[in-house]
């Protein structure tokens, strides 16, 4: 699996780095001369998980490709906060076209590089969950189906945060958004709706699909690095908590991502050609309540009459993930 066994008992592979680790065991982010692909001065909110995830992913990709990297970016927070005229935070060649066409733009970029014989230059496409799972889904599926040589990275914060926190098809059940308000008999987002795009990506049987969170940096970097080592269509879905949309404290961003993984709410795994090949095990299993309670978007579950039924429902979904992806026991068949 993704974590190389490191004979270092103090913090193992959990911290970003450590002065005592051998260089080959250090993370890209630990490097004094890391590329900071997403530079300081961007206008993301305090504690933005997407800003963090994007730098993690693109730095890793730049490292893996020796900086021979160009990117296409969907409309959304990432695009808006990173390139407000007259400044940009990006260090790599970067293009923003539209909300719904990023995968296709990347396909075009890859085609151009191929015809020009510059296949050493690699292409990444990135977008939020809205631009990926909703409006950009057609182009994404086309890119997958043609197996174009693109790594698509989705930064999933479970909603349209840029436009003021509306519901997307990646918004989790019961979560409050501006279009699924916490009112009525079944407050928040509806159960039984939405889609898990990594599974749909797997159905295209593309070479590589992976999920990750900003709480497991080394796992994330490992997956991006692995993806850049492959050709064809690749997809990485990264959970990036949004303090604004989730109603969490700015310093809790990584903690929330960690809780999502440790509760089983968000399964972290790898799949190759449609088959799950590895999962990142839960280290200290926790009930979903631990994850839900700190988020204001779930505040309605913890009012005067706590919605025990709803919480139980969410728990059952997490349990299903744990069963389905074998997040607890050792090794998978």
């Amino acid at each position: 699996m993704s974590l190389q066994p490191i004979k270092f008992y103090q913090t193992g592979t959990f911290t970003v780095g450590n002065r005592l680790l051998a260089p080959d065991q250090r993370s890209v982010q630990a490097n004094m001369k890391r590329t900071n692909s997403l530079n300081s001065g961007h206008r993301a909110c305090q504690g933005c998980g997407e800003a963090l995830g994007a730098r993690y992913a693109i730095d890793a990709a730049m490292n893996a490709t020796k900086r021979q990297l160009i990117a296409a970016n969907a409309t959304g927070c990432l695009e808006v906060f990173s390139t407000p005229y007259p400044e940009t935070s990006w260090q790599i060649p970067w293009i923003h076209s539209l909300f719904g066409n990023t995968a296709a733009v990347a396909t075009g970029m890859a085609a151009a590089l191929k015809v020009k014989g510059k296949t050493d230059i690699r292409v990444v496409a990135q977008g939020g969950d809205g631009g990926t799972t909703d409006i950009g889904f057609g182009c994404l599926s086309g890119m997958f189906e043609r197996n174009d040589d693109v790594l698509y990275i989705c930064y999933d914060n479970g909603g349209y945060m840029n436009t003021g926190v509306q519901r997307s098809s990646a918004t989790p059940p019961a979560a409050r958004t501006a279009t699924t308000m916490a009112v009525g008999a079944e407050p928040g987002n509806v159960f039984g709706q939405g889609k898990f795009v990594p599974a749909i990506a797997m159905a295209h049987e593309i070479p590589y699909v992976a999920t990750a969170t900003v709480a497991d940096l080394r796992d994330l970097e490992y997956k991006v690095t692995k993806a850049m080592g492959l050709r064809g269509a690749r997809y990485i879905h990264i959970l990036v908590p949004c303090p604004l949309g989730w109603g969490t404290a700015s310093q809790d961003t990584i903690r929330m991502a960690r809780l999502a993984k440790e509760t089983g709410v968000f399964p972290v795994f790898e799949a190759e050609h449609g088959e799950v090949t590895a999962v990142l095990k839960i280290r200290k299993r926790l009930p979903v309540e631990e994850y839900l309670r700190p988020q204001k978007r779930y505040a309605h579950l913890f009012g005067k009459q706590p919605r025990v039924d709803t919480i139980a429902h969410i728990q059952s979904l997490a349990d299903k993930n744990i069963r389905k992806y074998k997040l607890l026991e050792e090794g998978i068949q």
């Binding site: 008992y9 911290t15 002065r19 997403l38 300081s40 961007h42 730098r55 700015s250 990584i254």
Partner: protein, 541 residues
């Protein structure tokens, strides 16, 4: 650069022009908090400080850092009851870091490689009298010498070490270890006069000393009245243990009864076993919970076949037996006589009821105050008589080697100040690094290393050291279990988790600094710092 279409196309990384630091309402700052181990160490060791070097395998550096505060690591690594491990935050994760074992490893390494102390500061020409070569005296002498004063030790016994030699059995503290660490102190230039008892302090001071430190210890056994038919069957723990150092080992017989509940009682009982006693019985008037002796010592004793009679007092010692009265705890948990008696066969009875200090040398020292057997001292260990300081068993109620070493250090610094005509002020203690301040997710699970232990049979017959040491491998493992509470150990988390790249990495050993031009004050660095070395403070706006 290509000529770029206006506005639509921008130069890379140009957002540096946008100083987002202005958004900040709170700011992170790096701090060093006081780890609980350091906070509780009687010798005032900077434990986390020297573990850091052990983690990176630089054992000499670790040792040198250690002896800044304590010149006797090899002894400490054996004789210390390590309250640090009790306070260790790692207890809440799995088990405390084996600080004591690493300390011993470093001490033994130093002896093995013959490491010497750093040379003293240039001589001040002052001479300080140190009475007693026990842990307090040795510690005081060592620190005084390093501060540039000439320390002169007067020791009544024929060997240096005090209670470490005459109170702690070999199987816990081999004598060559004591010799080695004492010698290293002497090599620093400390003078020592053995077999030299100071009868009268005032007179001795006249030999040209600018100050004095008293560390004579507590060598007089407390007695309790027990009607005894045959007095020579009744011995005291102090003389028994001291006797172990002489030519003729004390004759205790086949059945030995020890009266008392302290660590000394345990030492005697275990010694008796090793001397060949078939039965070694401790009689104690209260319960195990109430027993002052450390539980792990009791455990060892029981393992070695020592038996203990709880809630029992000795009322009479006869020819070949003693009379024991059963006790019962009253409502307040105090033992009360029950009038129920039992007779136990015994060839000898050893009383281990505590010790007193011989304060005779202090007569006619004006201003010096004594009370319930100990010398009264101020915060700087100075007695009522200016220039006369005291420490160790004679100046405290908590009588351990480690406390004594701590007293020695404290006194030495106070003496140094006093000699310079200053008042000694201990440096302010930083805030405590509590468990709540840690983010323990980041520490990988690593259970404590088990030290090799001598097998029971040999423990019942020989005085070989019971507890083995660590080898380099597991010493480093153990050191690396340290959570580095409250002190940055350069895990790069703050550097990595900042969404605004507002943390500047300064390179190995130099830690990090914040770039407040871009820090938005989200506080993620503080939240994700494993060891709680970042504080978040409000900006005044």
């Amino acid at each position: 650069m290509m000529d770029k279409p206006f506005a639509i196309t921008l130069n890379p990384g140009s957002s540096l022009a946008n100083h987002t630091g202005s958004w900040r309402t709170t700011r992170p700052v790096y701090v060093d908090r006081l780890p609980p181990c350091n906070a509780t160490c009687p010798a005032g060791e900077n434990i986390q400080g020297w573990l850091v070097h052990a983690e990176s395998g630089d054992y000499e550096k670790a040792w040198r850092s250690l002896v800044e505060n304590n010149p006797l690591p090899a002894i400490m690594g054996r004789a210390c009851y390590h309250p640090c491990e009790g306070a260790c935050n790692r207890n809440r994760l799995d088990e405390a870091v084996g600080i004591n074992s690493v300390e011993r490893f470093l001490g033994d390494e130093a002896i093995k490689h013959g490491w010497k102390f750093d040379a003293p500061a240039k001589s001040t020409g002052k001479r300080v009298l140190v009475i007693g070569a026990g842990p307090a005296g040795l510690s005081a002498a060592y620190h005084l010498q390093r501060l540039g004063h000439q320390a002169v030790i007067y020791e009544a016994a024929e060997h240096a070490g005090g209670m470490m030699r005459y109170g702690i059995p070999k199987y816990r503290l081999p004598r060559d270890v004591i010799d080695a660490e004492v010698q290293r102190i002497l090599d620093l230039g400390v003078e020592i006069h053995l077999n030299t008892k100071v009868a009268n302090l005032a007179d001795t001071m006249k030999e040209g000393f600018d100050a004095a430190f008293l560390g004579v210890g507590a060598h007089i056994a407390k007695r309790a009245y027990i009607p005894a038919g045959d007095a020579d069957k009744v011995l005291d723990a102090v003389s028994v243990l001291r006797g172990m150092e002489g030519q003729a080992t004390p004759l205790l017989g086949r059945r030995v009864v020890v009266y008392g509940g302290g660590n000394t009682a345990i030492d005697v009982a275990r010694t008796a076993k090793r001397l060949g006693a078939e039965e070694s019985i401790i009689v104690y008037r209260r319960t195990r919970e109430k027993m002052p002796a450390h539980d792990f010592e009791v455990e060892d004793a029981l393992k070695e076949g020592v038996s203990i009679k709880w809630l029992s007092t000795i009322t009479e010692a006869g020819e070949s037996d003693i009379m024991v009265e059963k006790m019962a705890l009253d409502a307040n948990g105090f033992p009360q006589p029950t009038g129920e008696y039992e007779r136990i066969e015994a060839d000898s009875l050893v009383l281990a009821l505590g010790q007193d200090t011989d304060l005779s040398l202090l007569e006619h020292v004006e201003g010096l105050v004594t009370g319930n057997g100990i010398v009264q001292v101020d915060a700087g260990m100075m007695t009522g008589h200016p220039g006369v300081f005291a420490g160790g068993d004679m100046a405290g109620t908590e009588r351990t080697v480690t406390v004594a070493v701590g007293h020695g250090k404290k006194a030495a610094r106070a003496i140094n100040a006093w000699l310079r005509g200053e008042k000694f002020a201990p440096p302010p203690k930083p805030e405590l690094a509590t468990f709540e301040r840690l983010n323990t997710w980041y520490y990988s699970d690593a259970p404590k290393t088990v030290r090799p232990v001598l097998d029971i049979i040999r423990r019942q017959s020989t005085f070989e050291e019971v507890m083995g040491g660590l080898d380099e491998g597991n010493a480093q493992f153990e050191a690396r279990r340290c959570l580095s509470c409250g002190n940055c150990f350069e895990c790069d988390n703050c550097y990595g988790v900042c969404p605004d790249n507002a943390v500047i990495k300064l390179g190995p050993g130099n830690r990090f600094k914040f770039n407040y031009d871009y820090c938005k004050g989200c506080g993620m660095c503080a939240a994700e710092c494993p060891c709680g070395a970042i504080a978040v403070v409000a900006e005044d706006i």
